[in-house]
Amino acid sequence: MTTLQEQQKLQEQFKARMNEDELLNCMRCGFCLPSCPTYIESGQKESHSPRGRIALMKAVTDGLIEPDEDVERTLELCLGCRACEPVCPSGVKYGHLLEEARDIIAQHKKHSLPTRFVRKFVFKDLFPHQNRMRLAVGLLGLYQRTGLQKIARKSGVMKLIPNNLSAMEKVLPTVPSMKQMKSRPNYLPPIQSKISRVAFFSGCLMDTMFLETNNATMKLLQLAGCEIVIPNDQACCGALHGHSGEKDIAKEMAKKNIAAFENLEVDYIITNAGGCGGFLIDYDHLLKDDPMWKDRAQSFKNKLKDISQILVEVEFHKKVRLKLPTQIITYQDSCHLRNVMKTASAPRILLQSIENIIYHEMQDADRCCGSAGIYNIVESEMSMQILDYKMEQVKHSQATTIVTANPGCLLQMKLGVEREQQSHRTDVVHIVDLLLQAAEYDDHQ
């Protein structure tokens, strides 16, 4: 329960911190409604729409209503996919409003002791430290390799865990060994004649659990003629923190990354995870009130590009022969890659230039899959409802390969395939893994 006194404090914070211009900018035209997954899945509840949520944030700021549990709840239920932003005629930065509101609420919230413990562990002790991330993922590897996994699955222990979590456990990739995770390169030369010098943002989860995908990304960059530097002192992007109301930690990580990348004399900074990219490209906003960092954040942002975007720009798909066995492929947009980094056509161009591929665009490919960071764990009911709709569209597309551009989406789509019991016929892959396979197809024949 939030007491009246707490509500008053919250209200003051809303008044002090929410961007009034941005709130007013929403002209309530409603053009965002059809793009909002929670509006659709809630059976058109205005309170679960971007327009409704902005109206609520404004009403709290204006003192028209109290920030009660209903308001808090609907802000929690937002996926943060930001599909409402590209369709907004006024250009309202909904994502920024949401982040600020969530931060205000999180800072005032008295979590229960176990929740506090978990939050501290995840946000402060785990993600900011890459060595601990390696350890955590390493433990998972131990679990997978020692036969513990088999025992756990057989013993029925998994049944004690909530359904989606145990299904999630099934779709996790086989993780690399500690040794592999520790010995990472910090420089790679181009394989073709050099056309660009780039830095690679390797990410926390990407450089552990999805290490193979990172390797594939770097290989593609090398093939495309890029010289790559991978600074050792980079950190997690901070998205998880930013989206969960831990803005201060996010800012610290942003500063760490900006510093790590700014003196490398590179043309671009490359990411391969839409979720990270979408947060990295917002560093200028995150640090807008910090005169020391504002401009540095801006130049960081200006260099940022998704892997698919740079590959298209350097015409990788025209220079390297891409070929695969015949199959129907579909692409699921990463929300933050599309809506925040504005990269939507590049992945499609790349996929359609692979020989033997039949590309079927699925209906509403630009709608969130329901992964949304840790949303599928904390809001599993809504997440699964959204996923079910998504899997129906996959079915209509007849695709046997679903391509994604972000690890969260990848796991969620795998989960969807698992839930539909389609894993024998449907693959889910990250775009770079598929592209590398296509680039190396001839070598393996």
């Binding site: 900018n25 059976g43 309170s47 609520l56 009660d68 250009g91």
Partner: protein
């Protein structure tokens, strides 16, 4: 007020899940797309059938509780803002397409169907429903009917009114009536169908509608003409029609709009251009080609700077982008955007645009005008800031003068957005005292307790366009 006892009776009708009077739910139904207007309802209700609507209305009538029907809340006249409190009635359960009749070329729908969803469904069958309000991606058919929505294709194909041929309506006493039918000819009794289209929820609740469909035109072509004089552009519009060509759409943007659009979209519009016409024609191929050629000649004769016909659908989309981005470009200028729809006979377009520019100068406000030149329906749009009360006063006065000018030129205060609450004070300008009295007689006869969307269409006091939050 909705007492506990009444709330219980309403819940008994629709079930717990479909009645809500929490602060949050009331707040999110306190507004629509009209700037600077907000007022909380007492409760929100979502009936599942016409019968439930009737039962709800009986309770409201008995207890004199205002009832405000609301689709997606995209209207621009304050039509769905519950200014007098009461109950907001939602149509989220009444959202089915009931029948597509390919022999009679009709579609029967419930009011909650999204306009674009319906259009997509019938276009798959090669059929065509022309009204295309710019909010159609989310607007509901019920909302379109109640506001008599227009769109870009009004010139050639008319507006919502021209396609509604039958309605099911729940009256204020709970009676359910059916009007019209799948008939091209029907003179049995008063034309209630037409009366209820555009009645803005003030006479009854529409619970079902049958709409007329037409065959899909074979093809469409798009062109863009640039002018360095407003008069030349306006004369082109008149000449096209005088030459007995009725294009699908004949869209217009004035110089202030163009400046903003170019600044925003950077699509290479010449900055010294005074006006742009976007012209589309559809129909059988040979007719479209002939018309487009004729229109091109007219444009050139009337001294356009340049005229280009799209060679592909992609090019057509690019041409439409200029017109489509008008609202976005304007909306991003300042926090508040006031979009009106003063309408004049098409022969008076140049006079009206000229007058709008002069009025804007007189009151030191920025007003950009774009809109549907072919049917005289203009959208003078003012980017402003609701927090600046002094400026809002001037905006208010400027629009009052624009409405007066439109009437003077033989036009109207609203072409397609509706009267609602924001234009109610100006309705008398158009209808006269006697006209309002006649309307009031109809209203009182059908809704004696004034529970149907009260406070709309009929003005409480003299001129005052803005209504600030309660």
């Amino acid at each position: 007020m909705v007492s506990k006892e009444i709330a219980q009776r309403l819940i008994a009708i629709v079930g717990e899940a479909n009645f809500d009077n929490s602060k949050m739910e009331r707040l999110v139904y306190s507004y629509d797309a009209t700037p600077n207007l907000q007022s909380l309802p007492d409760a929100v209700i979502s009936p599942r059938s016409t019968k439930e609507v009737s039962e709800i209305i009986k309770i409201c009538n008995e207890n004199k509780i205002p009832i405000v029907p609301r689709g997606s809340g995209t209207n621009l006249c304050g039509g769905t803002c519950p200014t007098n409190g009461g109950i907001v009635l939602l149509f989220k359960h009444l959202n089915k397409i009931l029948e597509i009749d390919e022999e009679n070329l009709t579609i029967t729908v419930q009011p909650g169907v999204i306009t674009l969803d319906m259009i997509n469904t019938i276009e798959e069958k090669g059929l065509f429903y022309p009204p295309d309000p710019s909010s159609m991606k989310i607007s509901t058919i019920g909302g379109n009917i109640n506001e008599n929505s227009g769109g870009l294709r009004g010139l050639k194909y008319g507006v919502t009114r021209d396609y509604v041929i039958a309605l099911e309506i729940v009256l204020a006493n709970g009676d359910i009536i059916r009007t019209g039918g799948k008939l091209a000819k029907d003179v049995a009794g008063y034309d209630f169908t037409r009366l209820f289209v555009g009645s803005e929820g003030t006479l009854g609740i529409i619970t079902e509608a049958t709409l007329k469909l037409i065959p899909m035109p074979e093809m469409k072509k798009t062109m863009l003409a640039l002018y360095d004089s407003l008069e030349d552009a306006a004369r082109t519009v008149s000449k096209i029609i005088a030459n007995k060509i009725i294009p699908t759409s004949l869209e217009f943007m004035d110089q202030p709009t163009l400046e903003v659009v170019e600044n925003f979209a950077q699509i290479g519009l010449p900055t010294d251009v005074k006006a742009v016409l976007l012209i589309e024609q559809d129909g059988p191929e040979e007719v479209v080609n002939r018309d487009i050629e004729l229109i091109k000649n007219i444009c050139e004769k009337e001294k356009c700077i340049s005229v280009s016909v799209a060679k592909s659908e992609d090019e057509a989309i690019a041409l439409r982008t200029a017109r489509r981005s008008a609202l976005s470009a304007l909306a991003q200028l300042r926090p508040t955007t006031i979009l009106e729809d003063a309408t004049v006979p098409r022969s008076k377009i140049a006079d009206m645009v000229q007058a709008i520019n002069e009025i804007a100068q007189k009151y030191h406000v920025k007003i950009c005008t774009f809109g549907h030149a072919g049917d005289g329906n203009l959208h003078p749009t003012c980017p402003t800031d609701a927090r600046d009360h002094e400026e809002m006063e001037r905006v208010e006065m400027a629009f009052a003068e624009i409405f007066e000018k439109a009437i003077e030129l033989g036009g109207t205060i609203t072409g397609e957005h509706g009267v609602g609450i924001v234009k109610a004070p100006y309705l008398e300008l158009k209808l006269g005292k006697e006209g309002i009295q006649a309307m009031l007689a109809v209203k009182t006869a059908l809704d004696p307790h004034n529970i149907m969307n009260p406070g709309k269409v009929f003005a409480k006091d003299a001129r005052k366009r803005m209504v600030v939050s309660k």
